[in-house]
Symmetry: D2
Subunit: 95 residues, 4 copies
């Protein structure tokens, strides 16, 4: 699996991003991919870059559809071929 974390910064409508992030999370979860919300980023597990980028795009478009005119989106991709990767495996490896 490919692991990604994503953070959306909605710009221009006050300092609080929570309602936009919640709406994006609803879309991310509806994708069927495993989604792990966090305080600084949301981790997503998927099988292909296509499905992951597609759902990140949907989250971004959801925020824009709420009237936000600028979104900064930060994505980190951990793409590994030499073993079967997962959030669970990584957490064990560092604990």
């Amino acid at each position: 699996m490919i692991l990604v974390d994503v953070t959306y910064y909605p710009i221009g409508k006050g300092t609080s991003a929570a309602k936009y992030v919640k709406a994006a999370l609803t879309v991310l979860k509806a994708s069927g991919l495993k989604v792990y919300p966090g305080s600084m980023a949301t981790v997503i597990e998927g099988n292909t870059l296509d499905e992951i980028f597609n759902v990140i795009k949907q989250g971004e478009e959801t925020i824009i559809s709420m009237g936000i005119e600028r979104v900064e989106t930060i994505i980190k991709v951990d793409h590994r071929l030499d073993l079967e990767n997962s959030v669970e495996r990584k957490m064990k490896a560092i604990s």
Copy 2:
């Protein structure tokens, strides 16, 4: 336009990434999108998230095809609707 910067970190085959980054840059440029290579990231200008994410994926797959078994890819998206954005405009705005 949507602006993105992307950095690929090929992991596991020595400290130098230049040959992998060069190969990815060739693919990015072949997309027809405007590509601005830099010392810490490459900036891409595109019209849609789909075309941008697609070319970033192609760059990542190119690195993997060269025998790299782990790639970390960092992406920052600047998605702005309230004006016609571009690298040229942003550089003027801060100069």
Copy 3:
């Protein structure tokens, strides 16, 4: 409080980063700051940028001291003045 997440990518010694990340986590935790390890990044809560950057530097130097000759470190800072921020508060706000 200021919230940060940090990810260390040790480059050049194989695809697995776990032993280096574990060593860095030990240093981060020894700082006395609140540290939340995650699968894609570690979140740190602190009162000042100085103390946060100092501990991130110590984590990076720990990895280098283990024989790693290149480290890429990704840091995201959430610096907010209009309310008392924390991991706990942010998780409630999006749940």
Copy 4:
């Protein structure tokens, strides 16, 4: 040398960040470190993490001093020991 790129996102006062970024750039340049402004991030070359983090902090505090109550700061550090690194060297390596 250690290379870093930094991006400041001032949150909550409209979609345009240019005046805040310009003010931060003035502070970064006043440090004496080499500073390369870009469309998506500013690259800084320095000799130590301490001096680099210190100037990044000053840039962030400058933005806050202009009335911004939330800043998101994204930092990528390229810390390499096996050769004398620089923006100039990296640009040659990928060209």
